[in-house]
Subunit: 221 residues, 2 copies
Amino acid sequence: MQVTVLQDIMSANDKIAAKNEEIFNRNKIMAINVMSSPGAGKTSLILETIKQLRDKVKMVVIEADIASTMDADRIIKEGVPAIQINTGGACHTDANMLGAALETMPLKDLDLLFLENVGNLVCPAEFRIGTQKSIMLLSVPEGDDKPYKYPLMFSTVDAVVISKMDYLPLSDFNLEQFEKTVKGMNPGAQVFRVSVRTGEGVADWIKWLGTQLKEIKCLVA
Amino acid sequence: MQVTVLQDIMSANDKIAAKNEEIFNRNKIMAINVMSSPGAGKTSLILETIKQLRDKVKMVVIEADIASTMDADRIIKEGVPAIQINTGGACHTDANMLGAALETMPLKDLDLLFLENVGNLVCPAEFRIGTQKSIMLLSVPEGDDKPYKYPLMFSTVDAVVISKMDYLPLSDFNLEQFEKTVKGMNPGAQVFRVSVRTGEGVADWIKWLGTQLKEIKCLVA
């Protein structure tokens, strides 16, 4: 009986996720679900991306947090529209939250949408929301053992950004071993080494984003 | 109807939590729920505590992770018994998981129990599990804005350990502002500044633990 109820919830979410994805494809918007632990640098990476691309690409950012509007405020200061979703305690964004945010947007004028998920390596990986791509950040100070502890997240994303590379001199993070582990769990995943502070690896990340944008623009609706 | 089901789930959990707490008090065990984001240094703090206290205090560690036994392996290497709970996808430990672990332990021989929760700043704060105290770590690289984003966690713990203080020279973390924010949300919370790597603040943490241990030993069962 309880299992049936749970199945209903999931399929309702997946139904809305499929509808969101259809909306993105029809409007040729590349939507990216950005996930990580708290404080791994999701907002900083998005802000850097805005600086690099704002003259060429029309962006919007949806910020999801349990509480507060701090991240949306930072995005708006950079001149890019941002919507804050407060999940009211939920540890992830679901398809319905994203769908509600989409209804407030001028979709025809957009190229790139970031959904910055709640800082969490568990729940956000469990919910399809309808973005065509999903990425995660793992910051160097978090340590290189995380793929073993959060296998669902690491095995389902399209790209892993190793963030805060500028902390590497103080850390025992083994980059080669980490990348090998990630590739073993998720052979198709791109791995980037990035420090927004020093600029390291930002160009590679921007190049990957450009490829995703080209793909979506060539999609036959 | 659905609300009724949810209430039943919560009260069943709380009932088991109360039973766990009664077991801890009866056996004069100080049980501490240790929470943080992934990679904030929970296991490292517990390992350092083991090194400092193992000659005087009988300890056990319960490690909760979505998957893997890496953390329990590290504890056992230090000669302290450890039990690994794999939550099977759940983003927190519930009272029943802790209760099941307790059944496997020689309770009369223990003084101090650490439950290292799943790395997550959201869900673990929502579940009573029956430990008498709960603490959280926030590592310097995560940033000082986290209390605004995860208010439940910061406002309910007994102590906040600012970990990885050795990363401070590379960070713009504002210690004074952060501590003021925490005290505003949670006036009774102790705040410690710790680096396991350099040893900074470890003595203060150990002293606080000693006070908790004395309290439980003086408890009339």
